[in-house]
């Protein structure tokens, strides 16, 4: 991964002044929000569906051991193989091992966030010609950047930037005129078609894993997952253990939630169900099928109060509706999962001490929770991470001192009121109405005037006076 979690503030500042990024974000934001809203208007039972989604995931998580075993049994019975990877390194090693055993030269990849999570691309690129087949992923692979959004990885790129990338990589030229979107898409399709045909290995993620049938479910709008998983002789699917659902019945509920929440579609253009390796009578399909299930911190979450985060189906609605995400974009978050879900997952997977800004850079406005298709209490989890930060003294000493001192004072109302009563007239020396600058309030006044206290004293002072008058 090219960026680290630390130094969120510097990245956020840079993002705020990056005009290309800002124009790309502005364009994307409205699209996602409006499309989702319209899709939900057409489905009055959406709230009930969310509740069902929550229950399906909670049930599966509560019986994960059973469903994992069932899934593994069904995959194995149908000619596939299930591998368990405890951490990122073992996931990479498992996949590299499969590629080496297959004497592979070329790898084609469909989009996988689990793959991003374990840093799969860097490992693959060192040994094999590796090409991303999702258009967005392909663009950022050319740009050598990590994704900035979990379903629209190149959402931060403008058309001008993509024109330049394609001109450079496909035609070895630069400074050409701005190209139209269909032209760019056609060109990528042409380039990628060759890669599909030449690949020995296809790697995909999984949106859902069906225990009852051993099925891998994939959704795309480009059809690239179908080609990636059916043309090469080996298919490797990588997924977190939380992707399991009991049966096809649950998958259909989850698909209805996912498409609407992610892109405002009733259903994605392609929904693929892959069950088992190629059988002798099959016309196509991979000879080998591997499913690499990653833990990477998930079973630890299963046992604590962050379990509900494992309901996440990676739709991206939380980030699409997050005003902080739409101000700074995904890269500022420093790791593969941005926005509200990243503010929980990054500390969970990578440690809170290197990512303590993420749960703090949130206004707890709650819109993410209100759109989450599986009702994850994101603001609650984010706030719980702040509790941990404070408890483990990851919160800095000055901030801790300030909040504790204030807390001490606020628990002594008489003293508190004396002090605030003294501060009011002092503050009013800085201007009339509002002040452009106030000592110690630089963070506020950098972008805003400071409204000064109005009236003839604190409410309590005035109230006491009035009561006194009434009594006499």
């Amino acid at each position: 991964m090219a960026v680290a979690e630390a130094d969120f503030r510097a990245r956020a500042r840079k993002a705020l002044s990056d005009e290309d990024l800002q124009s790309a974000l502005a364009k994307a934001k409205g699209g996602f929000v409006d499309k989702r809203a319209n899709a939900i208007l057409d489905l009055p039972e959406f709230e009930a569906l969310r509740e069902r989604g929550r229950q399906i995931k909670d049930h599966t998580l509560a019986h994960l051991d059973t469903y994992l075993e069932q899934f593994e049994g069904n995959v194995t019975r149908q000619g596939g193989q299930v591998h368990y990877a405890l951490d990122a390194e073992s996931a990479r090693e498992t996949i590299l091992g499969i590629c080496r055993d297959a004497a592979a030269k070329q790898v084609i990849k469909a989009k996988t966030m689990a793959g991003e999570e374990v840093g799969l691309n860097e490992a693959l690129e060192a040994e094999f010609e590796t090409v991303e087949s999702d258009l967005g992923e392909y663009i950022i692979q050319l740009a050598k950047e990590p994704p900035s959004h979990i379903i629209a990885p190149a959402v931060h790129k403008t058309r001008a930037q993509i024109t330049e990338l394609f001109d450079h990589h496909h035609h070895q030229k630069s400074g050409g005129p701005l190209r139209e979107t269909p032209d760019l898409v056609d060109e990528a399709r042409g380039v990628l078609r060759e890669k599909f045909l030449g690949a020995d290995i296809g790697i995909s993620g999984a949106n859902f894993l069906v225990a009852e049938t051993g099925t891998i479910t994939l959704v795309t709008n480009e059809g690239n997952a179908d080609l990636s998983t059916s043309l090469p002789r080996v298919h490797i699917a990588i997924a977190g253990v939380e992707k399991l659902v009991p049966s096809m019945r649950e998958v259909s509920s989850m698909l209805r939630l996912l498409a609407r929440s992610a892109t405002g579609q009733q259903i994605t253009a392609y929904t693929t169900f892959i069950t088992g390796a190629r059988r002798p009578e099959d016309l196509d399909g991979p000879e080998e099928l591997h499913v690499v299930l990653i833990d990477n911190g998930r079973t630890r979450m299963l046992g604590d109060e962050f379990r509900e985060m494992l309901r996440c189906i990676r739709c991206g609605a939380c980030m699409n509706h997050c005003p902080v995400y739409s101000a700074i974009g995904g890269h500022a978050y420093g790791w593969v999962y941005p926005g509200p879900m990243g503010a929980v997952l990054t500390p969970m997977f990578r440690g809170l001490d290197s990512s303590q800004d993420l749960p703090n850079a949130c206004t707890l406005n709650g819109r993410c929770q209100s759109v989450c298709p599986v009702k994850i209490r994101l603001p609650y989890l984010i706030r719980r991470l702040r509790d941990q930060s404070f408890e483990q003294q990851i919160t800095g000493p000055f901030a801790r001192w300030a909040i504790r001192t204030w807390g001490w004072l606020a628990r002594r109302p008489a003293l508190y009121q004396q002090l605030t009563g003294l501060m009011r007239p002092a503050l009013r020396l800085f201007g009339r109405g509002s002040a452009r600058r106030v000592p110690l309030a630089g963070a506020w006044t950098a972008g805003r005037d400071f409204p000064l206290p109005s009236g003839k004293g604190t409410f309590q002072q005035q109230w006491r006076e009035k009561r006194g008058e009434k009594r006499t």
């Binding site: 503030r9 956020a12 705020l16 005003p323 902080v324 101000a327 700074i328 703090n360 850079a361 949130c362 206004t363 707890l364 406005n365 709650g366 819109r367 209100s370 706030r383 702040r386 509790d387 941990q388 930060s389 404070f390 919160t395 901030a399 909040i403 504790r404 204030w406 807390g407 001490w408 004072l409 606020a410 628990r411 109302p413 008489a414 508190y416 009121q417 605030t420 501060m423 009011r424 009339r432 109405g433 509002s434 452009r436 963070a443 506020w444 950098a446 972008g447 805003r448 005037d449 400071f450 409204p451 000064l452 206290p453 109005s454 009236g455 004293g457 604190t458 409410f459 309590q460 109230w463």
Partner: protein
């Protein structure tokens, strides 16, 4: 409006630290509206803050300390009313601070059940008629996030404001987007916060409103501060100021008349 025979509901006003310090007028407007609605209003002296800054910074010990203080000092009232959705919302979160089954937990639950944000209290509990006012002009309304999402406050202020026939309400195009205040967020991440409130003020200016109303002073100070910095002549007020007819007082951040 209240039946002469029926005992008047005893209301304890939770002033909130921001209103107490920055804008006492919101407190007086609240008292007036509650009394007009037939309530007997008391303002306990022993109060400061609901504890949100500590709670949202992860300092649970101090939050619980403050919660016990509020629980004690507001034990005697039928209702506890605050001119803020986020402070009322915080009081409603107190039960989680105490162990299940403990006495404090029970008392916190009892308090939470009696606590209301003022606009929803007037509209839903006291069911008052929208107060008649001659306030006139184009306004827009900012729904603060805690009120909106935690307490479901959306229609109540609009119903109450409908008693001002000359008030023309133009809704924001993104009325459910956070203004970027977020308590300590606004000073911990000032760049991001300023960007968010700038977007909010763009939206406000696009409505053509002369006044922005809302129900939470923190958000309103954030919005007023940004509007002032941009030199935009839009006034910012708490909705109770309009409902109580207290609009001769300068708007938030505006200069007071000399003398």
């Amino acid at each position: 409006m209240a039946d002469e025979q029926a005992p008047r509901p005893q209301v304890g006003l939770f002033v909130t630290c921001l209103v107490d310090f920055f804008r006492p007028g919101i407190g007086f407007a609240s008292v007036e509206l509650l009394e007009q609605a037939g309530c007997q209003v008391t303002v306990p002296e022993a109060q400061s803050c609901c504890g949100q800054p500590a709670y949202n910074s992860g300092d649970l010990a101090d939050t619980a300390g403050l919660a016990r203080q509020v629980i004690e000092n507001f034990a005697a009232f039928d209702y506890v009313v605050a001119p803020s959705g986020s402070c009322a919302g915080q009081i409603k979160k107190y039960p989680d601070l105490f162990e299940t089954g403990s006495a404090w937990r029970r008392r916190a639950e009892d308090l939470a059940g009696r606590t209301y944000e003022i606009l929803s209290f007037l509209d839903e509990v006291m069911q008052i008629e929208p107060p008649r006012s001659d306030f006139s002009g184009r306004v827009t309304y900012h729904d603060s996030c805690s009120g909106l999402r935690q307490l479901g406050i959306k229609d109540q202020p609009r119903r109450l404001l409908s008693g001002s026939p000359a008030l023309e309400l133009n809704e924001l195009s993104e009325s459910e987007t956070c203004c970027g205040f977020g308590g300590t967020f606004c000073v911990k991440y000032p760049d991001i916060s300023t960007r968010m409130v700038n977007d909010k003020t763009d939206d406000i200016l696009a409505t053509g409103a002369e006044t922005v109303l809302g129900g939470d002073l923190g958000c309103l100070m954030n919005i007023a501060g940004r509007l002032k910095r941009r030199g935009a002549p839009v006034k910012v007020r708490h909705a109770v100021e309009v409902l109580a007819g207290h609009t001769s007082e300068p708007a938030i951040g505006d200069e007071e008349e000399a003398g």
